[in-house]
């Protein structure tokens, strides 16, 4: 694992996360964890009339990778359609995180917010 994993951009999101908290009246409201490492995220999101992601907030605890990913994710997915969310994968998350290359052991940490969003949309009846 390269030392630039802990680059300033990610550390800023880790220490001062964007959109940290819980949305009222959210269509998406889900808690998800990585039981093997203890990362936990509570993700809430509202959709707009056109079915796009309007607002996202998260709270939780975990490693730098999971929390920075969650923070960046809340900004990154605004305005996206459910189909666009469904099509997202690891490459998109790595790109979102500034082109970081994650080792096998950290992939699940970075994917936690995306996995939570997909599962949350499914639970809310969204077509993903």
């Amino acid at each position: 694992m390269s030392s630039d994993l802990y680059r300033e951009q990610l550390l800023d999101h880790y220490h001062n996360p964007e959109n940290f908290g819980v949305l009222d009246n959210a269509q998406v409201d889900i808690e998800m964890d990585n039981p093997t490492c203890g990362d936990m995220i509570h993700l809430t999101a509202r959709l707009d009339g056109a079915g796009r992601i309007a607002e996202v907030m998260f709270e939780g605890q975990g490693c730098v990778i999971s929390m920075a990913s969650a923070s960046m994710f809340t900004e990154h997915v605004k305005g996206k359609t459910l189909e666009e969310i469904a099509a997202m994968g690891l490459d998109d998350i790595q790109e979102m995180m500034g082109g970081v290359k994650l080792s096998m052991g950290r992939v699940k940490c970075a994917l936690l917010p995306l996995s939570a969003m997909k599962e949350g949309l499914k639970e809310s009846g969204g077509v993903v």
């Binding site: 694992m1 030392s3 994993l5 802990y6 550390l11 880790y14 220490h15 039981p35 093997t36 490492c37 203890g38 990362d39 605890q61 975990g62 490693c63 730098v64 990778i65 999971s66 052991g105 950290r106 940490c109």
Partner: protein
């Protein structure tokens, strides 16, 4: 006599490697140890000069391979003071050894309403097989608790044994997380007095200290070769009369005496439990690992590691934010020994981040629950970082670890 760590390191080719241009500080031997030239060489020699399948061929090469394989079994038996090499069953790893006991002895002897006793410090390998057996049989699974000091609460055992329902006590000889050596000899005495068998997980203890299965009063003990400088092979030791009375675990070649169209008879122990071609070169390699460890001396290894762990505990105590698992007040007047491993967590810093930043300093530690989730639950944390020590580690390695932990705080500790 103190260990000559520099000379020992020289025996391990991996320490010629640099990681990120820095000296390798390998603190993850509790997961798997590094391999000395003697072991690598013994396996290479087996493949280059004496290799054939064992117990079958009537030609020179097969006889040599069989002799080398059985010679290693004898060395392994003597290493744990097993009275009879036929009590040494070669398996894949300690986990498979413990599963063998559960599936063979457990399936036969555990019934609805029986009690299976394990401890809160068990590795999943000595926990999940028993838990699932209890669920299959309608038996009770009871835990001997661990106190804040990381020690086994021995006082909790007699009440669990009192009603005569306990059939087995499964207990680690050394915790893979806490490094604590619970009083297994007393556990065995209490269990036997109540008519229960004792299954010991020796995966951590056997590589690090003298282990005498007879003196400890074990009925079964499982351990892994790869944690004791050897290759990927496991050992199950069991008392002969128990093994002889048990049904096979796996069926196939080598474990049979005769096979007819509608029935079969089993081979003698240990072959009854070694179905199929075994890991021949690996067993021979483990024999070489036993020779290597004996040449250093298990007493000396144990003394060395206790010294390094005591130093690590003292140095970690200097660091802000760092908390050692099981470093709280113990309830015992005689503290249980600690050796081999130290697990810790840092306020506000995830263990994965600790391990990833330590890696930038070529310090290898494990981060996670170390296959001991119930133990981490007991301490109220999801995961920890663990530094574990072996013959090639010294106080310098601890100093490098501590310096690297300062770097962790510098990067993440706002």
């Amino acid at each position: 006599m103190p260990l000559d760590v520099a000379a020992i390191r020289h025996e391990f080719p991996i320490f010629e490697r640099k990681i990120h241009g820095k000296r390798l500080v390998f603190l993850d031997s509790a997961a798997s140890s590094q391999k000395p030239r003697a072991v690598i060489g013994a396996m290479m020699h087996a493949y280059m000069h004496n290799y054939a399948n064992v117990h079958r061929g009537l030609y020179t090469l097969a006889e040599e391979a069989t002799a080398a394989y059985e010679d290693a079994r004898g060395k392994i038996a003597r290493f744990i003071n097993a009275p009879d090499p036929a009590e040494i069953v070669n398996v894949r790893n300690a986990t498979e050894g413990l599963n063998l006991v559960v599936y063979s002895w457990g399936e036969t002897h555990i019934h609805a309403g029986d009690r299976i006793i394990i401890t809160e410090m068990e590795h999943h390998a000595n926990l999940v097989p028993w838990q699932q057996l209890a669920l299959r049989k309608g038996a009770e699974l009871a835990y001997i608790p661990v106190n804040d000091g990381g020690e086994l609460e021995l006082d909790a055992l007699p009440p669990l044994l009192a009603d005569g329902r306990a059939k087995v006590v499964a207990c680690s000889v050394m915790s893979n997380v806490l490094g604590v050596l619970p009083p297994v000899k007393q556990v065995a005495e209490m269990a036997h007095a109540a008519g229960a068998l004792v299954v010991m997980d020796g995966a951590q203890a056997v590589p690090h200290q003298p282990v005498d299965v007879q003196a400890l009063g074990a009925d079964f003990m499982a351990f892994s070769g790869h944690k004791m400088c050897g290759p990927g092979v496991g050992i199950l030791w069991g008392r002969r009369e128990l093994l002889e009375a048990m049904p096979p675990f796996l069926y196939g070649g080598d474990m049979i005496r005769t096979v007819k169209r509608d029935h079969a008879k089993w081979n003698d122990v240990p072959y009854k439990f070694e179905a199929g071609t075994p890991a021949i070169a690996e067993v021979i390699g483990l024999g070489a690992a036993v020779d290597f460890l004996n040449a250093i001396g298990m007493e000396a290894i144990h003394a060395h590691e206790q010294e390094v762990v005591a130093y690590a505990l003292a140095r970690l105590a200097e660091l802000p934010r760092v908390h050692v698992l099981g470093a709280g007040e113990g309830a015992h007047s005689n503290p249980q020994e600690r050796s081999g491993a130290v697990a810790f967590w840092m306020d506000g810093i995830h263990p994965h981040d600790i391990a990833a930043i330590l890696d930038t300093e070529a310090v290898c530690v494990r981060a996670g629950h170390h296959c001991a989730q119930p133990l981490h639950d007991r301490f109220g944390i999801p995961a920890s970082a663990r530094a574990s020590f072996y013959i090639y580690n010294d106080k310098d390695d601890v100093d490098v670890l501590v310096e690297a932990l300062h770097k962790v705080v510098k990067i993440l500790g706002r």
